[in-house]
């Protein structure tokens, strides 16, 4: 059997793929956080809860109404986005004039409420969700078996992230959004409805979290607690990458997922903590983050 540093190649690549899949979720969540932060100047602590909602909703659709994963791919993010719009209109709107820390505190409270309610309804044990039939099984690549579904998650994430980047950097709507980030009153003076744009931005951001939840449902365990631990890692990812650049947050997310996968192979005790340690290192060397600019 072929080995690298005493580790079988197949196992090594297996963990790397798993790491990359985790990295996909980091990337999608940190992308959403960055978009929301850019427009609303708020760190959305409830992001993990929205991700969890996406996954649980996917499970609910299948187990209650027998609606397939494919429909969930559309319905769950939409539901999460609509819920996000309500939250923005009802609560966040009132906080744009005060210190951004209040936004963090409010969304922290929301996360506790949402998670607590879901835990009350569904308990803490996992809710089983199977891989869609088309993607069951694995591809034989010669040196390893690649589970089809994992490959699909990576491809889907790359498509979604690239589309988001394209919309923001290359389209008219994106230009409005970027302008709104820079100078809201001026953009409003040009006749663009800035409050509606803010609501839309929040909806897109949390919709991305919901979509990540749908993608996670078949491969990670669906449970009301799945979001809260993830969000703290994503915060570390955001600190490492900096929220200044969209491509930056995507690359940082994917890269850290890979590093986490590698750690699992070579020193599994540290796999929970490696992202935080990298964050500490980055803070020592480049306090503004890898892709960040000092404000």
């Amino acid at each position: 059997m072929t080995e690298i540093f005493g580790v079988p190649i197949a196992a090594l690549f297996g963990q790397l793929v798993l790491g990359l899949v985790n990295g996909c979720f980091y990337a999608m969540l940190s992308l959403g956080l960055a978009i929301i932060f850019g427009m609303l100047n708020i760190i959305n602590f409830a992001h993990g809860a929205f991700y969890m909602m996406g996954a649980v909703f996917t499970w609910f659709l299948l187990s209650t109404w027998n609606i397939s994963w494919w429909w969930s791919l559309l319905l769950a993010p939409l539901a999460v986005a609509i819920f996000g719009m309500v939250i923005e209109r009802l609560f966040l709107k009132r906080l744009y004039k005060v210190d951004p820390l209040y936004g963090l505190l409010l969304t922290f409270g929301l996360a506790l409420v949402i998670e607590g309610l879901f835990r009350y309804k569904y308990g803490v044990s996992g809710l089983p969700y199977g891989i869609p039939e088309v993607f069951q099984g694995a591809l034989n690549l010669g040196f390893m078996f690649l589970p089809k579904y994992r490959a699909i998650v990576v491809v889907a994430t790359l498509v979604v992230c690239f589309s988001t980047w394209f919309i923001i950097e290359r389209t008219q709507l994106g230009a409005y959004l970027r302008a709104g980030t820079e100078n809201p009153p001026l953009v409003q003076a040009f006749g663009i409805n800035v409050p509606a744009m803010i609501t839309l931005t929040y909806a897109i951001g949390v919709g991305l979290a919901g979509l990540a939840g749908v993608l996670a449902a078949p491969t990670l365990q669906v449970s009301p607690l799945m979001g809260s631990n993830l969000i703290i890692v994503v915060f570390a990812v955001v600190v490492i990458g900096g929220m200044g650049s969209i491509l930056g947050s995507i690359l940082t997310g994917l890269g850290l997922g890979l590093i986490e996968g590698l750690t699992k192979v070579f020193y599994s005790q540290a796999s929970n903590t490696v992202v935080f340690m990298i964050m500490a290192l980055v803070l020592l060397v480049r306090p503004a983050g890898l892709f960040g600019r000092e404000k």
Binding site: I43, V98, L105, L110, L112, I114, S228, V233, V239
Partner: protein
């Protein structure tokens, strides 16, 4: 009455209440509330007076608790020394956390402290000396200075009350010192404080380490009171709780965190057997209501009301 007189009247009332309380209320509950009150006061030193929101203060509380528990139970240190060791442990951790996190500001600061505390959480989850998921059990309360038997709840209460007063007065002294004035200047307008020639990071660092050490003192005392330490003490929910206590009571006011801590500890102890897992929903809802409706907290609102009724005093 001038404001200073009102304040000293408040202190006198607090002192008498504190001395008489264990005659009426279950001492262990009071001790727990006092520990969290000190914890929240230490946290408020950072949030309310320096404007830094740390979302990882449970790391200091829990670290001190583990160090205290370990030194009292395994190393056989006397209770007083064990509490000191725990506080010192939190202080050292505070230097590390502070050194890393004050490099970024505002929202990033909160995320960094949260992530670092999660690192500590996973470390304690895996380390052998913490007992992992089971925690450290059966920590001896022992004797203070070889003579005072702490097994008696009422005796221990007065020791805990003395520790609380020590921490509270230290914070009070800090806030009303020239150092405290600079802290407030940083909170109000950091660039201005820099332009006046203050080494802002040095001030933030001292405030951070002091806050961490006092949070540690609270955690160490709490470990002795309950005679056990579990992962809950380092969990991010505990960090969230202390943020809420300060927010609810009123940040930037010296009594606010005490009021907030007593409210939340009472609420959690009354509700947990009635609604079970819905406690976190209620905690979250209080967060939302505080942020939306009364950002000054209970004490801040009451003071505002008082001033409106009596008219502002010089």
């Amino acid at each position: 009455m001038t404001r200073a007189q009102t304040r000293y009247l408040g202190y006198a009332v607090l002192l008498v209440l504190g001395l008489l309380a264990p005659l009426v209320v279950y001492p262990v509950f009071l001790m727990n509330a006092l520990c969290f009150a000190l914890f929240a006061c230490a946290f408020n030193l950072l949030l309310g007076y320096t404007g830094l929101l740390s979302f990882g203060h449970a790391a200091f509380f829990g670290t001190a608790a583990y160090v205290t528990g370990y030194s009292a139970k395994v190393l056989g240190l006397s209770t007083g020394l064990a509490i000191l060791a725990g506080t010192a442990g939190a202080l050292v951790l505070g230097i590390i956390f502070g050194g890393l996190s004050i490099r970024r500001q505002g929202i990033y600061f909160a995320m960094i402290t949260l992530a670092l505390s999660q690192l500590i959480f996973f470390f304690y989850l895996q380390a052998s000396f913490t007992g992992g998921e089971d925690g450290l059990q059966a920590i001896p309360r022992g004797r203070l200075l070889w003579v005072i038997n702490l097994e008696n709840d009422r005796t221990l209460y007065y020791v805990v009350f003395a520790i609380f007063l020590f921490g509270f007065l230290l914070i009070h002294r800090t806030i009303h010192s020239p150092f405290g004035q600079v802290m407030k200047a940083i909170r109000e307008n950091e660039p201005r404080a820099i332009s006046l020639g203050y080494d802002v990071n040095k001030y933030k660092m001292v405030a951070f380490v002091l806050s961490a050490a006092l949070a540690g003192l609270a955690g160490a005392t709490n470990a002795i009171v309950f005679t056990f330490v579990t992962l809950t003490d380092v969990d991010w929910h505990t960090s969230g709780d202390v943020v809420l206590m300060t927010l609810l009571g009123g940040m930037g006011s010296i009594f606010g965190p005490v009021v907030g801590a007593f409210s939340i500890v009472t609420l959690e102890s009354k509700l947990s057997d009635k609604v079970g897992s819905l406690v976190s929903v209620i905690i979250g809802a209080i967060f939302v209501i505080c942020v939306l409706l009364f950002r000054r907290g209970i004490v801040g609102e009451v003071q505002g009301l008082y001033r409106r009724v009596v008219g502002s005093q010089p």
